[in-house]
């Protein structure tokens, strides 16, 4: 075994295998294993749940159903429409009906087999099309409008209209949903969770147990990937483990098996969108009308916020004077769909990028030029469909730099030549931009807290409300503290996120983790520095040869504290901490931050919902085998805007990782349900996320330089989600390669994901399509 020692780099414990995830924790004495029994029918009445035989199974300690829930039977985070355990009716396959606690996994399995579920089948809606046809809205439709769409559509020089289906996506975090619930004294419950939102996990656990939040402590050390899949749905497994632990009086751990996780949890929302666009002879869009129809699944979850973000990104990087965006979320008998990196943005942006692509094909013009003509401009300032003014936008500079660094225009020419010479293999290229709004669109969520302790030996333990899921938040937060206090990383330990240390936090989501928590930390550190300054001045003045008078300019660097005017005299940070303690000065401070100046009125569809936007752009080139529909990404160039990056290594990792995850959504990650609502792709055997072989053969990723972002921590920008949407460049490059089969004279049928199967269908269909005519 290796000696335990402090890790100077946070991922040191990862590469040495010492990082502890929920299922790795040393269990308390006599812990039990929990198992969730779920519905195998998509829609049914529960007639009876027969537990007699199951309860007799050796090793089984207890089995719970809805009737045994001491508090409220709800797990819905916003709308209370999602029972913790189904009582009278099941609404999807994978919905929890009963919970088993046993001495071993095997015993729980044996008991599960003996549970008799008597269900009476009801009609199940398992396609979005059926839900739309029946008008099964989960909430009233929403609209964002500006200008006069009807008139502009009627007047438009040219018109296109169509429909785009974008598919669901499974998060496929490597660590499946897991929780360990440990009962304490009285009602107290401590939950070790793998949750992006410990405060909400705490709320849901308190609610199902019928106790106050102060009796529930939720701790998240780290997650093995989350991507939005643990924003609300990690609450479920925590609630189930807590119910069992509460009933048995013993610690209970639940870790979902991979197939169960895929069957039970929600996905990225699939959308079926319909659009009309009018444009002039230069391809400038005059009017755009789009209906975004989302499959919410069987409960609300975050669907309305996701739909809202899809609507707020329906125009992406383009100024369109006349717009109507209609958003509808439909109820189906599938697991409730949930947050996933991009949070509706990708679905909204895919439609407008399709529109631009079609305009270019119609006009026989380069799509990049059509994009450029439609970009938002700063002067005179454009406004978005929801009335926000676009400032400091980097679209033009990104386009300039990226087309040059990628050789976009000359490569488009070479590709045309290649396609002339090759009948069976076709290449395609595409450039796509992203403009992504940063802030929770539910404005009050834009707040964060921090708690920093300086111990009297000069070491720090730092708490903030954000959770670490691999995105490098803790590394960034550690970097901020180290640079503010001039300390080496080994003196600054970032604590596990814990509701007892920082309360009432928002989810680590919406790419906001660093922005919000970084500012809260800055606030706490500023307080501490203010308290330490007089101590430092006293100590400095006691040094032999220190002759400076005030006003002092106290600096923290290299583990030392000194006056900027005299680097030769200094006191160590540890000495200051010790002295402060002796002088009875508090060495602990909380920090708080709320994002200023943002609001959004859902009724009118107007407001200023985002603090700023993050921009990015990508060029992708693919090669497609027209006989099989198989393709590969030959090259991808990305230029992404992270302001003044807090940590370029972390930010590059986010850009690359998001892009590859986006490639998965656009290409091989196909989710299928059968007509009865069974997930046909419930394991990695049938659900295919990218492997290392899907890495573009040439992959050049850069961060936009010299564009600091005023008003944020370190003048940085959020980065978690925006690059995901850059993968649409791969998707449209595939379409471009298909289009080459018919020399770009026909509009290829296209949807997302573009599996080899869909690509081959499209190629085949092209041969019978009508030529695009200019109206």
């Amino acid at each position: 075994m290796n000696p335990r020692k402090p890790f100077t780099e946070l991922s040191h414990s990862h590469v040495s295998g010492q990082s502890l995830f929920v299922d790795d924790l040393v269990l308390p004495h006599a812990s039990l294993v929990g198992r969730v029994v779920y519905s195998k029918q998509a829609h049914a009445l529960i007639r009876e749940i027969g537990l007699t035989k199951a309860l007799e199974t050796p090793g089984v300690v207890c089995i719970l159903t809805a009737a045994d829930i001491p508090g409220t039977n709800n797990m819905g985070p916003v709308v209370h429409d999602e029972p913790c355990l189904a009582r009278d009716e099941v609404n999807c396959i994978g919905q929890a009906i009963a919970l088993i606690a046993a001495n071993s996994f095997e015993a729980a399995l044996n008991a599960e087999k003996k549970i008799i579920l008597d269900l009476e089948p009801l009609e199940a809606i398992t396609t979005l099309e059926a839900a739309i046809a029946k008008g099964l809205l989960i909430a009233p439709e929403r609209k964002i409008e500006s200008g006069d769409v009807e008139t502009a559509l009627a007047k438009g020089t040219q018109m296109i209209e169509g429909e785009l289906a974008t598919g669901a996506q499974e998060h496929w975090y490597l660590e499946t949903q897991a929780a360990l619930a440990v009962p304490g004294e009285g009602h107290e419950m401590k939950v070790f969770a793998s949750s992006q939102n410990p405060s909400e996990t705490q709320a849901i656990v308190a609610e199902v147990l019928g106790i106050d939040k102060n009796a529930v402590e939720v701790e998240v050390k780290r997650m093995g990937g989350a991507f939005g899949g643990k924003e609300t749905q990690a609450n479920h497994v925590a609630a189930w483990a807590s119910l069992l632990a509460n009933a048995c009086g013993k610690a209970v751990s639940i870790r979902l098996c991979r197939d169960d996780d895929q069957i039970m949890t929600g996905k990225r929302h699939r959308f079926l969108s319909r659009y009309q666009a009018a444009f002039d002879s230069q391809g400038v869009i005059q009017a755009y009308s789009v209906e975004l129809n989302a499959d919410a699944g069987c409960a609300t979850d975050l669907s309305l916020a996701i739909l809202e973000r899809a609507m707020l990104h329906a125009e992406n990087a383009y100024y369109i004077p006349n717009v109507r965006i209609t958003g509808r979320a439909y109820r189906t008998n599938l697991p409730s769909n949930t947050a996933f990196r991009g949070f509706g943005g990708p679905q909204g942006i895919a439609v407008i990028e399709t529109v631009i692509d079609r305009i270019a094909r119609t006009l026989h013009a380069d799509p990049a030029l059509i994009r450029q003509r439609n970009f938002y401009r700063d002067a005179p300032a454009h406004t978005t469909p929801y009335g926000a003014v676009i400032k400091h936008n980097h679209l033009a500079v990104l386009l300039n730099q990226l087309t040059q660094s990628s050789g976009y225009f000359s490569r488009r020419q070479s590709i045309a030549e290649f396609n002339q010479e090759h009948a069976l293999i076709k290449r395609g290229i595409a450039l796509t931009p992203v403009k992504f709004g940063i802030s929770f669109t539910t404005s009050f969520l834009n707040q964060a807290g921090a708690l920093v302790h300086i111990y009297n030996d000069g070491s720090l333990r730092v708490n903030h409300g954000g959770t670490e899921m691999g995105q490098g938040l803790h590394a960034k937060m550690q970097g901020i503290v180290c640079s503010e206090l001039g300390l080496p990383p080994e003196k600054v330990l970032i604590d596990a996120t814990n509701t007892s240390r920082v309360p009432n936090t928002s989810a680590t989501a919406a790419s906001s983790g660093s922005d919000l928590n970084g500012m809260a930390l800055m606030d706490a550190i500023a307080k501490l520095k203010e308290r330490l300054q007089p101590v430092a001045i006293n100590l400095l003045n006691a040094l032999e040869g220190f002759a400076l008078k005030g006003p002092y300019s106290i600096q923290f660097a290299d583990g030392q504290v000194f006056d900027a005017r005299d680097r030769g005299h200094f006191v160590s940070f540890g000495d200051i901490a010790r002295q402060a303690y002796l002088q009875q000065i508090s060495l602990s401070a909380t920090g708080y931050y709320r994002t200023p100046g943002i609001m959004f009125d859902r009724q009118t569809g107007k407001g200023n919902p985002f603090y700023y936007y993050a921009y990015g752009m990508a060029v992708a080139e693919v090669e497609t085998d027209t006989l099989s529909g198989e393709y590969k990404v030959l090259r991808a160039d990305i230029l992404h805007d992270t302001g003044r990056s807090l940590n370029p290594k972390v930010d590059l990792g986010q850009v690359e990782g998001a892009f590859m995850q986006g490639i998965g959504w656009c290409t091989t990650e196909e989710i299928k349900w059968d007509t009865e609502g069974h997930l046909m792709t419930p394991s990695p055997d049938t659900y295919k996320i990218p492997t290392i072989n899907e890495l573009p053969e040439i992959f050049r990723v850069a961060l936009l330089e010299n564009q600091p972002n005023p008003g944020t921590v370190g003048q940085s920008k959020a980065v978690g989600e925006p690059p995901f949407m850059l993968a649409l460049s791969v998707w449209l490059a595939i379409k471009d390669s298909i289009s080459a089969v018919a020399d770009h004279q026909y509009e290829p049928p296209f949807s997302l994901p573009a599996t080899p199967e869909q690509v081959l269908y499209s190629i085949t269909a092209l041969k019978t399509q009508k030529k695009i005519t200019i109206q």
Binding site: N2, H14, V15, R258, P684, P756
Partner: protein
């Protein structure tokens, strides 16, 4: 049989471990190495991501002796049963660093940013470790091949690839080099014992014979026993379907079944030959086979999966089967004292059914040495290029005579309940000129030959279209170069 040994011996790092499976033992022999490891205090570095060998988060390395040297094999610990450790050294992530000093592969992963959430990282590190030990001059393609079986959802792989390139440096000694000979000697000593192991638990009896003769006797005595070799397919029945095995005969330690050699006009491939060994052996000798196996599962899977297992599982897709059929291969079958050979086409009799009788074992596949006048190609079409089960697979082999097709063998997987030849198409094409129209015609006849199903992998129409198009692709690959 009387009092067979009921314990296995292996090295866990440098610690010699003896596990006893006496009757009444609570822990079944088919306990996976992953579950065994994670139950040990301090060994939770090895992760479960899928329990089906598709993600590699559970990758560990088995060191097996080759004389005085060790060969390091990355395997998915979720699919390995404990008795497969017998005579091996098991290395998990906890063994890589020494005295708190990271192993170079760990250091490279750290520096490149190849670890974000950290859950896949131990598995990635173990695959990199095995690669750095077995192929310190690996090319980009070989590196990707070694890492295909490790899914990462965070990094997008670029920094992992960078770490891999830094890791494959010749002559980079590590602390494993120091004791290599000693470890090999210990393992060879364990392996010297060749008496069949009889490993038991309350509900399971697991036999591990070391010779074909002993295996055939067990087969005759326990015809109901589940046969395993690498168990990469059978293990899923336990890890995914939670099936319990009562009797197992493990054929993975029978060295005589692992040989690959040339024998007269044939290549003789033992049924126990590992897919990775088959791939390496045939990379240049039969490129169509090498290429097919390049896309067969992952390195971790190929290090345990065997050709015999792949054939006997008689999967409707069975990546290797269409090609073996197109090459005119035979199945060699033994029972006690009797050996017979039949065409592979006849050996696969239906959906997951073979002609194997209850007292027989498949001992080898014989491939006729390809003649220079036959042109063979194999194809695999899948949603994802690598580590995916074929949507369909195909192989075509033909012999030309004066610009016409003198003879042809075409076989498809994924188009029917079993992989099989396409006789209607074959008969139609014989005698026709080598021209695109000929193969287009073949594609049309294919529609009568097969009625493929629709499933999670694709619709029926795609299988039909792609299957027909593959004949056209074959033509374009083999056609004489035009002026």
């Amino acid at each position: 049989m009387t009092s067979l040994p009921h314990q296995i011996e292996f090295l866990f790092g440098h610690e010699k471990v003896t596990l006893s499976f006496a009757p009444g033992n609570a822990m079944p022999p088919t306990t996976t190495v992953l579950n065994y490891l994670r139950a040990l205090p301090g060994f939770t570095g090895t992760k479960e991501g899928c329990a089906e060998g598709d993600c590699g988060a559970c990758t560990v390395v088995l060191a097996v002796p080759e004389g005085t040297r060790l060969k390091y094999l990355a395997v998915d610990s979720c699919l390995i049963f404990l008795p497969m450790l017998h005579g091996c050294q098991l290395l998990s992530i906890e063994h890589l660093s020494e005295h708190g000093q990271l192993h170079p592969v760990q250091q490279h992963l750290l520096e490149s940013g190849g670890s974000q959430c950290g859950f896949c990282t131990p598995g990635v590190a173990m695959s990199l470790f095995a690669l750095s030990k077995t192929n310190p001059t690996a090319t980009d393609r070989e590196i990707k091949e070694a890492l295909t079986g490790n899914l990462c959802r965070c990094t997008g792989y670029r920094p992992i690839l960078e770490a891999a390139h830094s890791s494959v440096i010749p002559a980079q000694p590590d602390h494993f080099c120091v004791c290599e000979a000693e470890v090999a000697s210990t393992l060879n000593h364990i392996r010297a014992g060749r008496i069949t192991l009889q490993l038991e638990s309350i509900r399971q009896c697991y036999y591990k014979p070391f010779s074909l003769e002993k295996a055939l006797r067990l087969r005759k005595e326990f015809p109901e026993a589940t046969l395993i070799n690498g168990a990469s397919d059978v293990a899923l029945r336990q890890t995914k379907k939670h099936e319990q095995f009562h009797q197992i005969i493990d054929l993975s330690s029978i060295e005589e079944l692992q040989d690959i050699r040339q024998e007269g006009q044939y290549f003789w491939i033992g049924a126990g030959a590992r897919m990775e060994a088959v791939k390496i052996y045939f990379e240049n000798l039969i490129p169509s086979l090498g290429n097919m196996l390049h896309r067969f599962g992952s390195r971790q899977i190929r290090n345990v999966a065997t050709l015999g297992g792949n054939v006997c599982s008689a999967s409707p897709i069975g990546d290797s089967l269409p090609l073996l059929m197109a090459l005119g291969s035979y199945a060699v079958i033994n029972s006690l004292g009797i050996s017979r050979e039949i065409m592979l086409d006849d050996f696969i009799t239906g959906y997951r059914q073979t002609d194997l009788h209850s007292d027989e074992l498949l001992t080898a596949i014989k491939i006729p040495i390809p003649q220079p006048d036959w042109i063979t190609r194999s194809y695999k079409i899948s949603k994802r290029q690598h580590l995916d089960i074929s949507t369909l697979s195909a192989a075509v082999s033909l012999k030309l005579s004066d610009g016409s097709i003198a003879d042809i063998r075409i076989a498809y997987g994924g188009m029917d309940a079993r992989p099989r030849r396409a006789p209607l198409v074959e008969n139609c094409l014989i005698g026709k000129p080598l021209a695109e129209e000929t193969f287009a015609l073949g594609g049309q006849i294919l529609q009568q030959e097969f009625t493929p199903i629709a499933d999670a992998r694709s619709g029926s129409a795609y299988r039909q279209m792609a299957a027909a198009n593959l004949l056209v692709r074959y033509y374009h690959e083999i056609k004489p170069h035009s002026e």
